[in-house]
């Protein structure tokens, strides 16, 4: 258990940030408090990260440090910090409205599309802070792809859907080969190889979602973000998507938001649990290997959620 004074660290490599151990964060507008947040807490998490890295022996794809998101004056996420391991599936779980999707949308700067959104802190990706003003969100989105909750294929042919990303990103290689490769990787090739010219809207929901995955991997991203990718699908299609996620994790870093805990347990290697308080501001409660989060959670709230006491 966490010792007083060295909060947020646990031998098992699970970072815990309990609210009672960080009362200073309750007053974010307060100058000294903000300063503390920038220094004391940061170091604690640095320590924690060292432990995680050593323990997990995994390369790190993204480093989140004190990431906060505001919509106007409303704080949607409060200083989230953890590391996303490379070429693994990381699940973000938590009840509705805890900021999972908001967090996911920070990674490829989709929040930029909302005029009032503002982000603080840092997300380090290949040595650069994704939130820097100088970083081009259009460039990022090729490296960090995204799959949405509801399948959203463009009303074009299947081929054109997959080729859209490579085309706009100036792919000079063999386009049909790239499309075939992407569809194969998305386990859709065998079903659609004969009607690549047909409208993507004619596919079933599950096929559409796999097409969206194919579309996302066609631009060869390093990271794929998935926002509840199976929530609009039937159980069979869901299983296919889950298989796909595990397979893709061999080459890609995958971050998946899900409200289905069985799914998180099945597909992910690491899990982050987020929770929103009374004021609807989301905070990271716990991050660690999925197995530990599910079998031996450090935080009582995580346990409550996993055993279904949060609904």
């Amino acid at each position: 258990m966490a010792e007083p004074g060295t909060s947020g660290q646990k031998a098992g490599g699970v970072v815990t940030i309990a609210p009672d151990e960080r009362p200073d964060l309750e007053t974010p507008r307060d100058e000294p408090a903000a300063e503390r947040r920038g220094s004391d807490l940061f170091e604690e998490i640095e320590d924690a990260r060292g432990a995680v890295r050593h323990e997990l022996d995994a390369e790190i794809a993204l480093e989140l440090r004190g990431l906060s998101v505001f919509y106007g004056s409303f704080m949607a996420l409060d200083s989230v910090s953890f590391d996303v391991p490379k070429q693994e599936v990381t699940a973000l779980i938590g009840p509705s409205g805890c900021g999972k999707s908001t967090l996911l949308r920070c990674f490829n700067r989709m929040n930029d599309l909302i005029p009032t959104a503002r982000m603080e802190g840092s997300i380090m990706f290949e040595g650069r802070n994704l939130l820097d003003a100088g970083i081009d969100s259009v460039g990022i989105r090729r490296r960090i792809g995204m799959v949405f909750q509801k399948p959203n294929p463009f009303p074009k042919s299947i081929f054109a859907n997959v080729a859209f990303g490579p085309k706009i990103n100036g792919y000079k290689g063999d386009m049909p080969a790239l499309v075939e490769e992407s569809l194969r990787r998305a386990a859709l090739w065998d079903e659609v190889k004969d009607d690549l010219d047909k409208s993507a809207l004619a596919l079933s929901g599950g096929q559409q979602q796999r097409l969206c995955i194919a579309r996302a991997i066609a631009v060869q991203p390093e990271i794929i973000l998935m926002d509840e990718p199976a929530s609009a699908l039937d159980p069979v299609a869901t299983l296919k998507i889950e298989d796909l996620m595990r397979e893709l994790a061999e080459d890609y870093t995958i971050i998946v938001v899900t409200h289905n805990m069985q799914q998180a347990a099945r597909v992910s290697s690491y899990t982050a649990f987020l929770l929103a308080g009374e004021e609807r501001t989301g905070r990271l409660v716990e991050f660690g290997p999925t197995q530990e989060i599910f079998t031996n959670p450090t935080d009582r709230r995580t346990e409550d959620y996993i055993t279904g006491r949060y609904g």
Partner: protein
Amino acid sequence: MSGSELALARDEAVWHPRLRARKITGAVFVGLCVLSVALGVAMLAALVIDVSLDGAARLFSAPEFSPSARYSGYALAVIAVLVLLFRLLERRGVRLDGALHPAGLGALTTVGLSRQLPFALPWWVATTIALRIPRALGRLPWIVLAMLLLTWAVYLFLDQTFLTSFASRIPDRAGIYAPLIGTLYMMAITAAVAFPLGVGAAIYLEEYARQNWFSKMIQINIANLAGVPSIVYGLLGLQLFVRAMELERSVLAGALTMALLVMPIIIVSAQEALRAVPPSMREGAYALGATRWQVVWSSVLPFAFGGTLTGTILALSRAIGETAPILVIGGLTFIAFLPESPTDSFTILPIQIFNWVSRPQEDFQLIAAAGIILLLLVLLLMNSAAIILRQRTRVRW
């Protein structure tokens, strides 16, 4: 299986994202978009400015103004601006009252400058009272008041002979009295005919009609009628009202033709207003045992009335500018009398304008501009009325 291929594809050599070039293209594209919008707005501005410059010559050409009229005009304009200013300040929480009342001060200054001091006190009293009125009436009328004051001010500067003269072959004497009255006369009858019929049809289609082939046919019909060129309505009016019903080229024939023209627009807007009334309003009344008509009359119409009226005003404002149908049924362009009964011949503003534009003399073209200003003012008035009505009657569910 495909690790090597993927590695190939990830090789930056085959990707040319050209971020910079795409950004620049994007910026140029936004520029084009903005330019397009600006072009539309600029055209509108060019039109208004062109017409105003040309028309002002005839509208304000009166050689002699009485000084009192001129100073009253200035004072009214200043007061109108001050009314707006005052409300703006008040909205921001600044309270100014009594002798320091900006409008009172402004009036005093204006009138003082004009060396018409005897007028100063009545002005001050009038303004102070005028400024109380909007506060008593509620939120919106202040802008109406300011507009009225401005209109009055402009009116004082107008060469009023333009408004009160009949058509003439001498440009300086040509006026717009007959077409102005003709337009008002015709539009009054049009409104009286088209409003009940249009709203009635909309109520039938929305509240009574079954979803059968007949109502579907009427619906398609009405949608297509809105796309029929207005001149074709003129031919219908010519055959039906002027010839078959032997109304001759009268106000009534013109008004009925216009009524047919605007009916589809009124029906569509009234249908939209009726559709916006939530079903719960109807169900509530039915639950109390009301008959269909009682439900429509007591629970639906009151809520849809504002929207319906707004749509009607907008439809009529389209009719006011329509020239072609009345040209075809033969609205005369040169009449030196006023229509006294619905069977008299008449002319309307746009036809008089068309007549003046078509003449080769430049003087007449300038008069046409003056007529256009008048027509646009009438349209502005009607559209503002519609907007205000829409805002005041908007119900949020």
